[in-house]
């Protein structure tokens, strides 16, 4: 069943036409990846879904309900949260406070406490650093924190924007192991990546975005072997 549906979404920055009518759908429990090179419009897509940017045209539906016209802080309440590009943790808050901010729109104390334990289960490192300020942590730890913080919203759809960016290979593996684990736990994920091979490796389905348009879509394993994807996104990294 489709949980998130974007239909013909157009987003502008002033006069810049950043998304030119994109259509994406994400089914419950799926990992869907959105790949594309720098500047393709991946981050814009996620920001539009979250209501931080308003589409000029098109619809965004969460469980069949239109969410493109409600304010960003309401979208989180409806069940969309994200680990943003560049992590954007709160540098002068502790790990615990950052995680609590993730649950800002929730009021179920027990649920929040349980989810915090779940996050610590996924990222034991965060538990070790529970009272450390986020700004003093390494890039990998901040990525874990950004993901944990997004999970604290108990989202229906989790948006991940380039979780591997700027991380050492060993940490990238760790982050992708977590993504697989989340998949096993039936978390619905829309994963944005520049690292197409890794992303298609964990995803069920994928979309390829080029200058604001979806140019290719399909099952992840088909995309991995598709000549276009190989040439454009896997080329120089191929074995």
């Amino acid at each position: 069943m489709s949980i998130l549906e974007l239909n013909n979404v157009h987003t502008f920055y002033g006069n810049i036409h950043a998304l030119k009518g994109i259509t994406i759908n994400v089914n419950e429990g799926e990992i869907v990846t959105l790949i594309g090179s720098n500047g393709a419009g991946k981050t814009t897509t996620l920001r539009t879904i979250q209501g931080l940017l308003k589409p000029r045209e098109g619809s965004i539906k969460l469980k069949g309900e239109e969410i493109s016209k409600i304010p960003a802080h309401e979208v989180v309440k409806r069940g969309v949260s994200q680990s943003p590009e560049g992590r954007l943790t709160f540098p002068r808050m502790t790990v615990k406070e950052n995680l609590e901010m993730g649950a800002f729109q929730r009021s179920d104390k027990e649920g929040i406490a349980a989810d915090m334990e779940k996050v610590f289960g996924l990222f034991p490192r965060l538990k070790e650093r529970i009272s450390q300020r986020a700004g003093t942590m390494s890039g990998g730890e901040q990525q874990m924190l950004a993901m944990g913080r997004a999970l604290m919203a108990n989202p229906k759809v989790l948006l991940l924007d380039e979780p591997s960016m700027g991380l050492a290979p060993i940490l990238v593996d760790l982050i992708f192991d977590i993504i697989r684990e989340l998949h096993r736990q039936k978390t619905t994920i829309l994963l944005v990546e520049q690292n197409a091979r890794l992303a298609l490796g964990v995803a069920d389905r994928g979309y390829v975005l080029e200058t604001g348009e979806i140019v290719l879509k399909g099952d992840a394993k088909d995309l991995l072997t598709s000549p276009e994807v190989k040439a454009a996104y896997l080329g120089e990294r191929g074995h």
Binding site: L52, K77, S81, F90, R92, E100, F104
Partner: protein
């Protein structure tokens, strides 16, 4: 946000020379020209030796002034911390607050020159509500639509708002009459409370509990020692206590309440805050409202402590508070208190030992020097906890 400071080893000979020479030149110039302004070290030292109590007395006065400055400076610094905007209308909001406090106290005084303490305490309510609302309106209708424009645009709009509020303040100064609810008289009589001229200073009624007789403040130390030479008045205690309460309440608020945490989140990263489901516009507005309410509290403290106000009062008090905020590291709450203590002491010492006519100049000099040598302030905007 992090600035890459050049390490000392990167400095050229000329830079190193300048770094050593500039402070020496400034100290020399201050001593040279300071003399004209009453900075005569020999005389000052003699005065202190002759009567050491005076300096302690000035420290007490300085701390009381610092209390008022702290509260106003926190309004500047909170707003800066969250939207990186210096709210130039803040000092006028404070000035309006003094008028609201004056009107409230005068209505209760009904022509008397003395009011009971509860009237002064009650005045906090309308002053804080009015100033909070006014500052909130300034945010909503002046700053909000300019948030994405160049910073200078918001600054100029703030200055314009400041002028506007000052002129409204001048107009309030004309409101010479309030109804006198005298039940024995027939009909409504009017009392003249704000003087005849709009621009002239207006007097606050004195707080009864603070005075032993007309114009003689009670010295709390005399209750302990009849021959006390040092003087601590109830007004001193009230302003310092109010400031402490405000500082601790605010600190508690930003650390422990949902809105306070949201304020810290917006200050640290507005984009991420929005992703957490925080209504960023509402939190920014709330910050201005709280900053305004603090200015309202400071206005009551100022009126009770100094007994006077006028539509120009915002400029000096605003300068003192703004300098305190910059000195402490704008955006930093503890820094604001630290800066305020420095400015409060500087003012009271200058008033006593140098020349009160030049006090504002010393404060300005401090502002200029901080801007040149340590624009991030004593605690820096990254050092302590922002709003």
């Amino acid at each position: 946000m992090e600035k890459a400071l050049s390490k000392p080893s990167d400095l050229s000979f000329f830079q190193r020379f300048r770094r050593i020479f500039t402070p020496i030149a400034i100290v020399y110039l201050v001593l040279l020209f300071g003399q004209q302004a009453g900075l005569e070290p020999g005389r000052i030292i003699r005065e202190i030796i002759d009567n050491p109590v005076i300096i302690i007395q000035q420290v007490i006065t300085g701390l009381a002034n610092a209390a008022i400055i702290t509260i106003i400076a926190m309004g500047y610094t909170m707003v800066y911390g969250i939207v990186e905007n210096i709210n130039f209308a803040h000092s006028s909001v404070f000035m309006h607050g003094t008028f609201v406090a004056l009107l409230t106290m005068s209505i209760f005084a009904q022509g008397a020159t003395v009011v009971p303490l509860w009237v002064a305490l009650f005045a906090f309510i309308p002053a804080m509500l009015y100033c909070g609302l006014l500052n909130g309106l300034v945010e909503r209708y002046v700053y909000r639509s300019l948030r994405k424009s160049a910073r200078i645009v918001a600054l100029i709009a703030g200055l314009g708002t400041d002028f506007m509020l000052q002129n409204i303040g001048l107009k309030i100064g004309d409101l010479g009459l309030i109804p006198n609810i005298d039940r024995t008289a027939t009909g409504v009589k009017f009392l003249r409370i704000l003087g005849l001229q709009s621009a002239s200073p207006k007097s606050f009624p004195a707080v009864q509990e603070f005075f032993a007789g007309p114009g003689v403040p009670i010295n709390l130390l005399e209750l302990i020692d009849k021959n006390a030479t040092l003087r601590i008045t109830a007004a001193d205690v009230m302003v310092i206590a109010t400031a402490l309460i405000a500082v601790f309440t605010l600190n508690w608020f930003v650390r422990n309440t949902r809105s306070g945490k949201a304020m810290r989140a917006v200050a640290q990263n507005p984009a991420a805050a929005a992703m957490m489901g925080i209504d960023v516009d509402r939190i920014i507005n709330l910050t201005y409202i709280i900053g305004g309410a603090l200015a309202g509290a400071a206005a009551v403290m100022f009126g009770v402590y100094n007994g006077t106000t006028s539509s120009q009062i915002g400029s000096t008090t605003g300068l003192n508070s703004f300098t305190a905020a910059v000195l402490g590291g704008v955006g930093n709450l503890q820094g604001a208190a630290l800066g305020a203590i420095f400015i409060g002491l500087l003012s009271s010492i200058s008033d006593q030992f140098i020349s009160s006519r030049w006090t504002t100049a010393w404060v300005f000099l401090t502002l200029v020097l901080v801007m040149i040598f340590k624009p991030t302030g004593l605690l820096g905007s990254e050092g302590g906890e922002k709003a």
